[in-house]
Symmetry: C3
Subunit: 321 residues, 3 copies
Amino acid sequence: MENTIDSKKNELRLNQITETILDSYERLGGINHLEGPNLPSKKEVSRLVKSLSTIMFPGFYEEATINKNHPEGYLLAQCSTVLECLTNLLQKSLRHECKDGVTCLRSEGDCWDDAVEIGFRLMENIPMIREVVHQDIKAAFKGDPAASSYFEIVLSYPSVQAILVHRLAHFLEMQKVPFIPRMMSEYLHEKTGIDIHPGAKIGNGFFIDHGTGVVIGSTSIIGNNVKLYQHVTLGALSLTDVDRLRNEQKKRHPTVEDNVTIYAGATILGGKTVIGSGSVIGGNVWLTRSVPPDTTVTFDSPYLIFKQKDKVEKHVIDYQI
Amino acid sequence: MENTIDSKKNELRLNQITETILDSYERLGGINHLEGPNLPSKKEVSRLVKSLSTIMFPGFYEEATINKNHPEGYLLAQCSTVLECLTNLLQKSLRHECKDGVTCLRSEGDCWDDAVEIGFRLMENIPMIREVVHQDIKAAFKGDPAASSYFEIVLSYPSVQAILVHRLAHFLEMQKVPFIPRMMSEYLHEKTGIDIHPGAKIGNGFFIDHGTGVVIGSTSIIGNNVKLYQHVTLGALSLTDVDRLRNEQKKRHPTVEDNVTIYAGATILGGKTVIGSGSVIGGNVWLTRSVPPDTTVTFDSPYLIFKQKDKVEKHVIDYQI
Amino acid sequence: MENTIDSKKNELRLNQITETILDSYERLGGINHLEGPNLPSKKEVSRLVKSLSTIMFPGFYEEATINKNHPEGYLLAQCSTVLECLTNLLQKSLRHECKDGVTCLRSEGDCWDDAVEIGFRLMENIPMIREVVHQDIKAAFKGDPAASSYFEIVLSYPSVQAILVHRLAHFLEMQKVPFIPRMMSEYLHEKTGIDIHPGAKIGNGFFIDHGTGVVIGSTSIIGNNVKLYQHVTLGALSLTDVDRLRNEQKKRHPTVEDNVTIYAGATILGGKTVIGSGSVIGGNVWLTRSVPPDTTVTFDSPYLIFKQKDKVEKHVIDYQI
């Protein structure tokens, strides 16, 4: 492209633009360095998630191959790199304490020690998290006749990717790390359309089929062997006083007990709503009340209208899939 | 991998493949260079969006750190690079005028001058757009008790990413730039599952919670302080004559006035449909008629069926979340 | 960052972490190299999809420009590179045969010959697939008044990206290639929120508007000129015996005949469910029974409740969009 834009007049115009943007930074904030030590960036967090995933399932995400006979050296190097990156991000996060939407700064030294400790703890929990994710993979195989092998599930099921990252993010959330857990979930939300807040507590053997549009709120509690389909929402009821809710950290999202199946498009709302163990919630159901164990909930069959040129028929919907 | 595929027979086969693909390019089009000056590519547009986002919130997307004491030099260089890239893409786009689905070519000179002017105008509007996005961030904080700080919102809320890019894309759409605005929206749709056509007019303090599955059509008009949840559609009614609609650029999507909340899964259709200010639209509602101000719209409570081994109960749904 | 974590104590801790992770690999599997020849990685498959898309529409995805006068040389080199990459991935996949969730290994030689043959066949089918995708682009233009040109559709419509990759993945699925077809679909699901199993058979002139949340199951059959909107599910009925279903490969998903339109949020389930040609399925409809040709299916109009301070009104929903 031979065209360029560096005439005298344009230079002036560009200088003015730079000045007004700098003014805007001063006035409105939102520029990392001007307000103190930098926060973790989206790019760094996405790199962290990829590295952790590669340690969880070597070779599935990246092409990295490990020497079959001496994997220790390679893995040690990899763990060391991830830990370094993780600790730096943790320190950046820990320096920013949020209170009522305002961010205060903690001292660098305190944060570094905490960051090292939390980083190590996450790494030490990886074998345990692999154990749990292994149960999730089994649940996916058990739950989907289109799955032909465990490998296929690790390589191509968004549910496994989502639950893997959720279990890592939830660990950091429990350590009260700011920013990073939510950034990890959002990275996954981008990838899979599955939006699980890192605060949600999820039992073993969890499977989400298809996944796009699933929303699981921050105070949800989910038991073992629960299966969800696409577009399921575990959400909060109407928000009347957001600031009070924020400070009280009240349970605002449902509890789903063991062995529950929730079909596509169902919406379940409220912190006191409990779906009893063994229950099945039908597609598109809208629930704001609790359901006792071993109950099937469906819409009271409404009618469908079939219209053709010369006739109109009514048919009962069968919501029991 | 020691295996290779360059035997004599295979070479012939590969040559034939190349020939038939070239034939296909000639016959069906869809190859950039054969039909004239190149269009902007997806990759270039995604790079543009990232650069503009980095200027909007330095350090949040990329790791770039700016010298705290002399940020002007760095920012000037950055603005200059973005402007160069932007202008080149604008010129590529402007050369292709679309009429009835056919693309004509404008002269290179005309397009360059227009491209420079539009590029500068977008850059000059960045401080104003930051101001507006700042209101959007405030609205997100006000609307979600799970948000702990403004920083967390900028770093991890898909809504902020979507509205930021929409406001930039909408600016270019208003300047009648072809291709790029829609490519920017689709880049964001990919990232967030939020599909906002660049033509949509959106007021201040806009917030979408969760976001996946939201669709906002090209002629939608949205007032101030509007809040949407996941899977909300602002769409068009049935299309009877697509070509006429395309040429007339008729308003086909709803108007949503100030201070309206629309809960998850609601579908609102039609260019004459107006949701009056202060109204609340309940989850899953399907609306093709206008709603007066300060009105709550919900389904007429249908029943849910709770089935257990020995009994069946009916419960009224409470759609008022 | 001057902080580092290489004190003596920490080194020991890191060594222990490495050991327990290695133990976990041994016990639970899920590491590529320890269990035999590597599987294709997510990254390799995403690169393959991008290269194939670039051959389908040169310059639209990447910036690559081809010499206008001598495109053969460039295209030949590009085809040769893609074929090499494709054949290697195919061989990796073909070595892993899945039976009842367990993976057996086939001999390297057999797989290489098969891989070369299947790789060539896919490349030879590219002109034919371009022909079909050209019909899909026409259908998108015909179906969406917001589209201003074919170029805009190729550059920015998720539907075109999804169907293009589906047609390539479906070809490989028909050749019984394990892993790769599903990994290609999931790559696309990530990008677009459109989840089409590679097994689904889809006719010409297929268009999905907006797309996020669409699910099309593995044994679905879709005719010509079918148009879907966002959140449409073509799914299976309740799964009572997953292992039997897996082995029998029974038809579990619907058949949609020619010229059918299915509006946003509709759920159609079951292998015996047939939507007759020319029918229109309304928004949010839940169908588990067949629909004769030329039929419009909507909900039996339920009521909406409009509540204001001083009055409550009931309005009939008009689901006929």
